[in-house]
Amino acid sequence: MTIYLEFEKPLAEIEGQAAELRALAQRSPEMDVEKEAAALDRKSHEMLVQLYANLTPWRKCQVARHPERPHCKDYIERLFTEYTPLAGDRNFADDHAVMGGLARFNGRPVMVIGHEKGHDTKSRIERNFGMARPEGYRKAIRLMDMADRFGLPVVTLVDTPGAYPGKGAEERGQSEAIARSTEKCLQVKVPLVSVIIGEGGSGGAVAFATANRVAMLEHSIYSVISPEGCASILWKDAEKMREAAEALRLTAQNLKELGVCDRIVAEPLGGAHRDRTAAIDAVGREIAAMLDEMKDLDGQGLRADRRKKYLDLGSKGLAA
């Protein structure tokens, strides 16, 4: 059962009609509905193409947050072998909003780290909706450190609404943990590639996405603040999120133009959730290509490459 987004309502109607017709035909085999159903299919396909050809920034936010969008766990399961989760920050706890560990990517051992949002109520609560606490960032720091010592490339998968704004998180140094994680990203002498697979929420995303190469899925977003948050501060009205999403330039396409993201990974028609395996495989190809780009750089070269990428950022704006 597909979950439709608000702007997909007309589509839901047509697809629903087609499904109904087919269900009817199944009960009474003498009815021939295939022709009509196929017409409806064509219509819905056209509508889907149209809807997704020009998604507004706010609609992209909705797609990026789609509950059925493949999450970190799905990518790890399909793209990596021998995944061996490593837990804990050796200090306080294991944060389930961040998963990570050793794994093989195309046979090569790597360290994979990412935010996991969960896929149903139970797992969402367990994963804290992908909002990491300091422990999560400290676990990531520990894993990056280990990768650095053993020469393993680091792959990060970013999908978080942001770092968790909670009492305990603040007390245990949320900001320090994020700052150190960003610092570690810049320090490691191994290739670090990052893919924004859904939401790149502010500092919580930067802590993982400060990489040699950053790829973004076509309908993913990466922003300094959520459109809702921005709207409530600058427009004094959280309902102005459409305007805020527009103004923030948070789409993969805008970010590529600004040089923040290096590659855009095309999504299947109608978003990654409509063909999860195709989306995941496309990301896999992109990770391989990004790692390949860095194969000639040594440790110092990799660090210098990362530094240069960030120091140079901001030299170009968007065309007016």
Binding site: E170, G173, S175, I178, A179, G203, I233
Partner: protein, 331 residues
């Protein structure tokens, strides 16, 4: 304090002061409500003389009190491209910038200066909360990078005074990218083996706290400064419970192991000198009110001239002739 520093100096200051003295000569302390005479307040570095409440102070005023004899040279900050996103909310970003420039007579939210503090060469960067809430945009990022590069060049430590509501939303993702950018700057200092001291002032929040403001070798805060990643309001909305008294204030963070020290503004200069000289392996400083260094580098002064940009006024404070006034060294 004697007659000269209490009375004559503020007068000289007010002659050279770039901002006009407001008509209202009295300021009400937000904490205890005492009415404070502006000169007395300025002399006490904007700390309430009655209750010790620390009010905001601009980087320029702070630097005047921080550097020997109030003399410092501005470090040039590369100009970023203006309004990269063509951002517009209810107002245009460019209009907001213009308004902030008019209001503060400053170019942007961070001032970088070099000079001597207790005869110790230092590069200092101060964030200006009065300029669009001190928000971290590309200029602030450039300022931190310029400060770090200058410090490395001079083989001097960097002292950074943070004060910000967070990242500058109007620069979108590019403001967020100042988190890694500023971290690169701090890396440069660390590689050069130079001390980096952060003084967190009220308020330091959001992406600023989660990057350069938390990466100091020594982390000092001013009393009662709000220091956090997520603000108290956001947290209360998220967890739906009241937060304890003093939550996310400097003393609370000190208690939770996030800071090295909480130091009142009046003692900050002395403390910085002490810490910096130890980290640099220098002998103890002679604690005295030192006059301005006599030979300002002409090259640096030239740079400051260039850095002025649109603001017509003289950017750096005038070195004031002031007699060395020995003070009993404090414990």
């Amino acid at each position: 304090m004697n007659w000269i520093s209490n009375y004559v100096r503020p007068r000289i200051n007010s002659i050279f002061s770039r901002r006009e003295v407001p008509e209202n000569l009295w300021t009400k302390c937000d904490e205890c409500g005492t009415m404070l005479f502006h000169r007395e307040l300025a002399d006490n570095l904007n700390v309430c003389t009655n209750c010790g409440h620390h009010m905001a102070i601009t980087p320029r005023d702070r630097f005047k009190a921080l550097f020997d004899g109030g003399a410092f040279t501005e470090v040039k900050v590369p100009e970023p491209i203006a309004d990269p996103l063509n951002f517009r909310d209810q107002k245009k970003y460019t209009d907001r910038l213009k308004e902030a420039r008019r209001k503060t007579a400053e170019k942007e939210a961070m001032l970088v200066a070099e000079g001597e503090i207790g005869r110790t060469k230092v590069v200092a960067a101060g964030q200006d909360f009065s300029f669009m809430a001190g928000s971290m945009g590309m200029y602030v990022g450039n300022a931190i990078i310029a400060a770090a590069e200058r410090a490395v060049k001079l083989n001097a430590p960097l002292v950074l005074f943070s004060a910000a509501g967070g990242a500058r939303m109007q620069e979108g993702i590019l403001s967020l990218m100042q988190m890694p950018r500023s971290t690169v700057a701090i890396e440069m200092l660390k590689e050069a083996g130079l001390p980096y001291i952060v003084v967190l002032t009220h308020p330091t929040t959001g992406g600023v706290t989660a990057s350069y403001a938390m990466l100091g070798d020594v982390q000092i805060a001013e009393p009662n400064a709000l220091i956090c990643f997520a603000g108290p309001r956001v947290i209360e909305q998220t967890i739906r419970e009241k937060l304890p008294e003093g939550f996310q204030r400097a003393e609370y963070l000190l208690d939770h192991g996030m800071l090295d020290r909480v130091t009142p503004r009046g003692q900050m200069r002395e403390e910085l000198i002490k810490v910096l000289r130890m980290l640099l392996g220098l002998p103890e400083a002679v604690m005295a009110d030192l006059p301005a260094p006599e030979t300002p580098e002409p090259a640096a002064a030239k740079e400051a001239e260039d850095a002025k940009g649109e603001t017509p006024e003289t950017p750096a404070a005038k070195p004031e002739p002031k007699p060395a006034k020995p003070e009993a060294p404090k414990k």
